[in-house]
């Protein structure tokens, strides 16, 4: 899980250079964090067009606010907090209307140990089409409340630790664990035919 945490010293250097007006340093931060934040926003909105638009807003806001970033938290926590807050605001405005538009599943899934394990032997997933699985997972995620979806995305999909999530969301670790527990219980109901 630690491989998912970006190099803090390198980030600090890029942030300082960006604060001094080096736009190429900020470009590096954008390159580095776009894939990670894409995963976060995409799994929270369930729509790739909304994700691309929101990411533009997120980085634009980060760029404008960078002068005020004092380094009390890591850039990683800071940019994730901005992303979560902006995505939650977006979801509130969007309301219940959700049009799912899914990204392609990369070929790496065929070699993923989890996927191999889940589709081997007499598993109910053995004959399940990958796209069907993806559709069901996304639909189930969208049935969760926004708060629950956020912790599931950060913990299960992005692989962040409870302590990191609590810093990003500004809640206690206990709250993170509790939200995860209830979210998983709900997902178990929605996906029971895949995990028998």
């Amino acid at each position: 899980m630690s491989d998912r945490i970006p190099n803090i010293d390198q980030d600090q250097n890029l942030v300082e250079r960006s604060q001094d007006g080096d736009t190429r340093a900020f470009d590096e931060l954008v390159r580095k964090y776009t894939p990670k934040l894409y995963g976060l926003v995409y799994n929270m909105t369930g729509n790739r067009e909304d994700t691309a638009d929101l990411l533009q807003d997120i980085f634009a806001k980060a760029y404008r606010s960078l002068k005020r970033f004092q380094g009390k938290s890591t850039f990683y926590t800071w940019i994730y907090s901005i992303s979560v807050n902006m995505t939650l605001n977006f979801l509130k405005k969007r309301g219940r209307y959700t049009k799912l538009s899914m990204d392609d599943v990369d070929s790496g899934i065929q070699n993923d140990p989890d996927f191999i394990k889940l589709t081997s032997g007499d598993s109910p997933l053995r004959d399940v089409n990958i796209h069907e699985l993806q559709k069901r997972l996304n639909e189930s995620m969208m049935k969760l409340s926004e708060d629950h979806r956020t912790v599931v995305t950060l913990y299960d999909v992005q692989g962040l630790q409870h302590s990191e999530i609590s810093k990003i969301l500004g809640v206690s670790e206990g709250t993170v664990r509790s939200r995860l527990f209830y979210a998983h219980r709900q997902l178990q109901t929605y996906l029971e035919d895949f995990i028998k």
């Binding site: 954008v30 894409y38 995963g39 533009q56 980085f59 392609d104 889940l118 997972l137 895949f194």
Partner: protein, 155 residues
């Protein structure tokens, strides 16, 4: 809620949902375009703001301040030098009494109003005819004239 939780294992598969490989570079290109557009918009706003502040700075320039102060001072001076009351009241006040109002050389012309001749003839009739030699000569009469006959009686 462990690594071996089947729900967790299922959800972890979602990390394989990825945008196209050139997404990041395209995204960065769009980001730059957007930044430039914002910069231009801010420049236009900044230019407008600069013009407004320059205008007000010029307005607050000492020379304009002196000019404004001079105008106010001249106005106050003119106002203080002006007589305290209006012309009509003066005219009344200058008289000792309205009763002593004196008209000198005011000419009553028979042509002044359309009914003047008629009123004059009636008044003459009431006082005894049109025998006034002044009148016969067509001379104008003073407004406060006295009609008197040869006996010296005033009518």
């Amino acid at each position: 809620m462990t690594e071996h939780d089947p729900i967790h294992q299922l959800l972890r598969l979602k990390r394989h949902e990825q945008p196209s490989p050139d997404f990041v570079e395209d995204f960065l290109k769009t980001f730059h375009q957007r930044q430039r557009a914002e910069l231009l918009q801010n420049s236009a706003r900044g230019l407008l703001w600069e013009r407004i502040t320059t205008y007000f700075d010029d307005l607050m320039n000492p020379k304009w301040g002196w000019a404004a102060a001079s105008v106010v001072a001249v106005s106050l001076l003119a106002f203080s030098m002006k007589p305290a009351s209006g012309g009509k009241a003066d005219y009344v006040n200058n008289s000792a009494s309205p009763d002593a109002f004196e008209v000198k050389g005011v000419v009553v012309s028979p042509d002044q109003s359309p009914n003047a001749n008629e009123r004059y003839l009636i008044s003459r009739h009431n006082v005894g005819g049109l025998s006034d030699p002044n009148e016969a000569q067509g001379k104008a009469l003073p407004a406060s004239f006295h009609l008197s006959d040869d006996t010296g009686m005033t009518h």
